[in-house]
Each structure stands twice: as C-alpha cells, then as structure tokens.
C-alpha cells in the first residue's frame, strides 16, 4: 500500500484530534482527553508552536472504512538535557489498526529521528505504559533502553488542582 509521511498542516487538526482519541482509547484513558482540534490548531500551528506533528496519509482509493486518508501520526517536541543538549521527545506515535504491518509506524519513527538528527539532537525519549508490550517490543527492537528499569527514573506531575494549589500557597517547609 502506498503511503506518504509529511508534516502536519493546520487543516489536519481534526484528523490528529481523532487519532489522539483513538490512542487514548488504546491506552485505556479516553476520559483524560480534555482538548479538541481547536486547541491543537492554536498550540501547534502558530508562529511559536508547542509541538510538531507528522501525519501518515494514504491515497483516496485506500481510505479507511469511515473515509479517512490520514491514518497515523507522530507528535513530538524538543526538550533539553543539561547533560547532553537538545533532545527530541516523542509524545505520541499511532497508526490505525487496519493500516498496521505496512511499515507506516517505522517510517514515522525514521522521519522523527531524521528531524531530530537535523536539529543536532543527541537523544530521543518517550514514555510508555509498562503493559504496552507491542509498543515496548517495537521500540526496544530499534535500540531503545528502558531507563525506568535500568536507572529507576520515575515520571512525576503536578496536575490542574495540585498545580493551582502550589501556585497559591506559601512555602510549606
């Protein structure tokens, strides 16, 4: 099957939003999706975008059952390691189930890595759920190291209310 990997445009926001929701369903957390395509348009396609996105597109004759030609995406942004310098963080990578097994995921990964290399990034990082074996296998096969297992790194977050409280409170110590 023919497919094309290209940079996402503002017009793709509705498709990206649809795929974000599909990935959230796969992650068993659909109720956590709070933003719509409008926020994606505002946050990803202004003069100072907060994320970058690639989409996988198939020709009209291969469109999905629902009529979609955008069948996968990779959402990433640049981070900074005080040890090594610029890095890429791969936030989301997803291909619709009917379009898997054709090398689309692999091509999306390659393209993100290429962009990272062009920007002189020294590493690419991502977070994954420990039960997500298909994805774990996919990334480990390409050379990813599990730093939570090997070095004990944990991901912490102050969310919504906790952040608000922290901003409003005086020091506790």
């Amino acid at each position: 099957m023919n497919f094309k990997i290209r940079a996402a445009k503002k017009d793709d926001s509705k498709d990206i939003s649809r795929l974000i929701m599909e990935l959230a369903v796969y992650e068993k957390m659909p109720d956590r999706v709070m933003i719509s395509y409008k926020e994606l348009e505002r946050d990803g396609f202004s003069s100072n975008p907060f994320f970058q996105c690639l989409v996988a597109e198939v020709p009209e004759e291969n469109k999905s059952k629902e009529g979609h030609t955008i069948v996968g995406y990779a959402l990433y942004f640049y981070t900074y390691s005080t040890w090594k310098g610029p890095s890429v963080f791969l936030e989301d990578l997803y291909v619709m189930p009917d379009f898997r097994g054709q090398g689309i995921g692999k091509s999306l990964m390659s393209k993100v890595a290429q962009v990272g290399k062009e920007k002189q990034c020294v590493r690419l990082q991502l977070l994954m759920r420990d039960w997500n074996t298909p994805s774990l296998d996919f990334y480990v096969a390409k050379g990813a190291q599990d730093l939570t297992a090997s070095e004990g790194w944990h991901f912490l977050r102050f969310d919504g209310e906790a952040l608000d409280k922290l901003a409003n409170e005086a020091s506790i110590d």
């Binding site: 900074y80 005080t82 610029p86 390659s110 939570t148």
Partner: protein, 171 residues
C-alpha cells in the same frame, strides 16, 4: 536567610554549568555531563532558547563581594495531547549548605505561578526512584508519581540508535 530569585542571563552560564555538575554528582552521574558553557550560551540565550532558567542568589559574605548563585531551576515547555501545554522541570537544585531556608519551595512556587500564567495544565519532571528527599519534597506539595500510579516508563534512544533510525529507508 536573604536571597533573591531572578531569571538567568548570558553571564550566568558558568554558574549554571557548575550547578548542573553538582546536581549530576548528587545523582551519582557527574561523568555524564557533556555540555559546555558555550553550548549552554547558544542553547539558552540565542534566538530560540531551548531552555529557561531561574537562579537563586545570596549576597557575598563580605561587603563588596559579588552575589553568589546557590540554586537553579531549568525548565522548558512540552505538550500533552490530552491536556495541552506543560511546564517540564528539567533540573532543580539548591546547594547543600543553603538548604532548609525555603529557597527550593520558593523556586517551585515561582515556577508554578509561571506555569499558570503561561496556560500550562501541569508541571512535570523525571526523578530517580531512590531520590527519596526529592520525591517526598514533591509529593508533600501534591505531585503524583505517574510511574507508580499508571505504569509509565521512560525510554531513551541514544545518539547511535537515533541516527540509525534516521538513516533507515522506507519499506
């Protein structure tokens, strides 16, 4: 103790690197710091800063002495496709002899103020699981450990693997 928090400036890169190395030493990873002052300068104070930095400064011990940088927080903005903008706290450190005076708390409070003002929906960071003092510091203030609670694991491709993927052709 009297101290001041301020935005880092280009002249601060040697202090920033010094504290980056002290934090790496605390994490028993000092040998991993490959960054130079020149890179910190280009990356943080060029046209498109890749990071932002807040510094904590105390007055010099003797009059006429320069103020001393004794703590820092380095951060940048990331994106959660489920909730939007996030502030990612990359490094956060106060020199040992200056702890216990509320400096760390005040830095965190300023960061959370900034996060709210810049429409961030969360403030996140990665911390080593054996770093008990830091984990308690954050949890006391309402942070949730998502690795424990939701099974998130951090994966990394280092340079070689990254470049290998970049070179691989489409099937």
């Amino acid at each position: 103790m009297e101290y001041k928090l301020r935005k880092a400036e280009p002249k601060d890169v040697s202090d920033i690197l010094r504290l980056v190395k002290e934090l790496a030493k605390y994490e028993a990873m000092e040998h991993q710091v490959a960054l130079t002052e020149k890179e910190l300068l280009e990356d943080g104070f060029g046209d498109t800063p890749l990071y932002h930095c807040i510094l904590a400064e105390v007055q010099g011990e003797q009059s006429g002495e320069d103020p001393k940088v004794i703590g820092f927080a380095m951060y940048y903005f990331t994106y959660d496709p489920w909730s939007g903008k996030q502030l990612h706290l990359e490094d956060f450190f106060v020199m040992e002899e200056y702890r216990g005076h509320g400096i760390g708390s005040e830095i965190l409070k300023q960061l959370s103020d900034l996060a709210m003002k810049t429409r961030c929906h969360g403030m996140q960071f990665i911390v080593a699981e054996d770093n008990e003092p830091s984990i308690s510091f954050y949890k006391r203030r309402g942070a949730e450990d998502l690795s424990t609670a939701e099974g998130w694991r951090l994966f990394r491709f280092t340079e070689n693997s990254l470049y290998k993927m970049a070179a691989s052709t489409e099937e």
